[in-house]
């Protein structure tokens, strides 16, 4: 069930748009902000509030890379796997990250701390290789710098 806060925020988004359906992405973002991911139950809840079918909401949810339809950890690592980072040492960064975290792309650490995801170009190609952890962007990465970066996120 959606919380009161989620409901209020979604209602507020509905007021901003000419038809209810148009608030679909915003509603999914609100749910994800509160629960970190969007479960089947949440899809049905969002469908109800927007007068859409659950399938229709899910077709939107599964289209976008950053709406998570599976549980994720407390912190999201987005490793840029696009071309400038490929040229500048993505491979070494990926190897060290997977070694430190003991997980592969798409997985979450056993302690629920990190989820590691590949992500297209982060728009900081002149400082490749790059990654984001939650809201923070890390540039000019060296494998040796990764352990200290991860330390910051508990």
């Amino acid at each position: 069930m959606l919380s009161m806060t989620e409901k209020e925020k979604i209602e507020e988004e509905i007021r901003q748009v000419p038809i209810k359906k148009a608030a679909c992405i915003e509603a999914l973002k609100i749910v994800q902000e509160h629960r970190r991911w969007v479960s089947d139950e949440s899809i049905r809840d969002v469908a109800d509030i927007l007068d859409m079918s659950a399938e229709e909401v899910d077709s939107v949810a599964t289209f976008y890379n950053l709406i998570f339809r599976q549980p994720v950890g407390r912190h999201i690592i987005l490793l840029c796997d696009s071309i400038s980072c490929y040229v500048m040492g993505l491979k070494g960064i990926h190897a060290e990250l997977t070694r430190l975290l003991e997980i592969q792309y798409g997985q979450t650490t056993a302690d629920g701390r990190f989820t590691l995801l590949p992500n297209p170009c982060l728009g900081t190609c002149d400082h490749a290789p790059a990654m984001m952890v939650d809201k923070d962007t890390y540039r000019d990465l060296q494998p040796s710098a990764l352990a200290d970066i991860l330390e910051k996120y508990t």
Binding site: F63, R69, S82, Y86, V87, K91, G106, G123, T137
Partner: protein, 438 residues
Amino acid sequence: MERPLTQHITFPPLEIRQYEAIGGYQAVRKAVRHMQPQEVTALVKESNMKGRGGAGFSTGMKWSFVPMDVPGPKYLVANADEMEPGTFKDRWLLEGNPHQLLEGMIVAAYAIQATEAFVFLRWAYKDAAIAVRKAIAEAYDAGYLGKDILGTGYSLEMHLHTGVGRYMCGEETALLNSLEGKRATPRAKPPFPQVSGLFGKPTIVNNVETLSFIPHIVNKGADWFKSLSRTADGGTKIYGVSGRVNKPGAWELPMGITMRELMEDYAGGMKNGFGFRGVLPGGASTDFLIEKHMDITLDFAGVAAAGSRLGTGTMVVLDDQTCPVGFVHNLEHFFAQESCGFCTPCREGLPWTEKLLWAIEQGRGRNEDLELLLRHTEWLGPGNTFCALAPGAMEPLQSALKYFRDDFERHIREHRCPYHDPVPAAPASAHLHHTHHL
């Protein structure tokens, strides 16, 4: 050398009072107080400003297609989705001078008499979101946004929309679907968005760099804009270089500088120990250029004459120790993943292309595969797919097959990558948006 777009970029960016102190919002004052909307459009048309989003379409011309006599809402959208691999110019403008973008948007919105404006910003640009949100709030407080702007009777509401990640959101009609809360699949044209766009109303979508230039054109005129450039395509342009060069970065330079100047004088040449093989001149979806193209001018016509596109103007260098097959495999993996799946050649063809390239890269390729790849560049070429994503994806592939054919053949002959261990792409299971159980 004048650098109107970037000279006031600072981190953190100028607050509104500081921005006003350097002449900011003068263009809004001038346009809404002293110019008719059509005069603004005519001025931009006269300047010959060509859109900086990739396609290079005349900005004034685009605005002039908006029907001015229809009642009801009209929309202006700043395309700040910037997901083209190798592109990092709009981020600089968004984080470094958001008021300049807003000022350009207000003037553009006035020219088409838009009632609402949106900044469509990609999810990953968190710092830009903070900067733009703050700037919008300041502009409302100062009376440049909202009802009855500067007492002129013109009103404009502005919203920041942050996306949820998909390359297709940058394609202008797919962007509009996304703003309507739908999947970002493209729409059939015509009708063009200028006539029937967001919620079926007239809509203009322009790139961040395009819009950021508008205040300067209004302040200083069309002739000044043309004089900034060395060629017929007016203005300055933000150029960027990434890869194994000494000084990767972005610079605002006169439109039409040469590739050699950019690579040598600004990017500082290749890093010690690395040689130049080629370059994607304007992001992932442009054809490779090679050494023999070093003296071309980097404007729309100059790059087109060399067989590629200026695109976003941010270049990715292929060095002599990076495998061209692996390089193109990385690009096609991106395109296959980001294809919206709406039309068959792209949905089926891009994953096939990716698989063929991966087989070759790993030393499992066959001679016939080169023929198959070539056929794909036709099957997915212009006119055969619903939008420009697939033809764009074919540009680096077709030019790699032309310029680096020896490398492809050597992989097949020697059953291995002669450069380095193949770098696998992330599997589909790495994307947590896919799974659903409903």
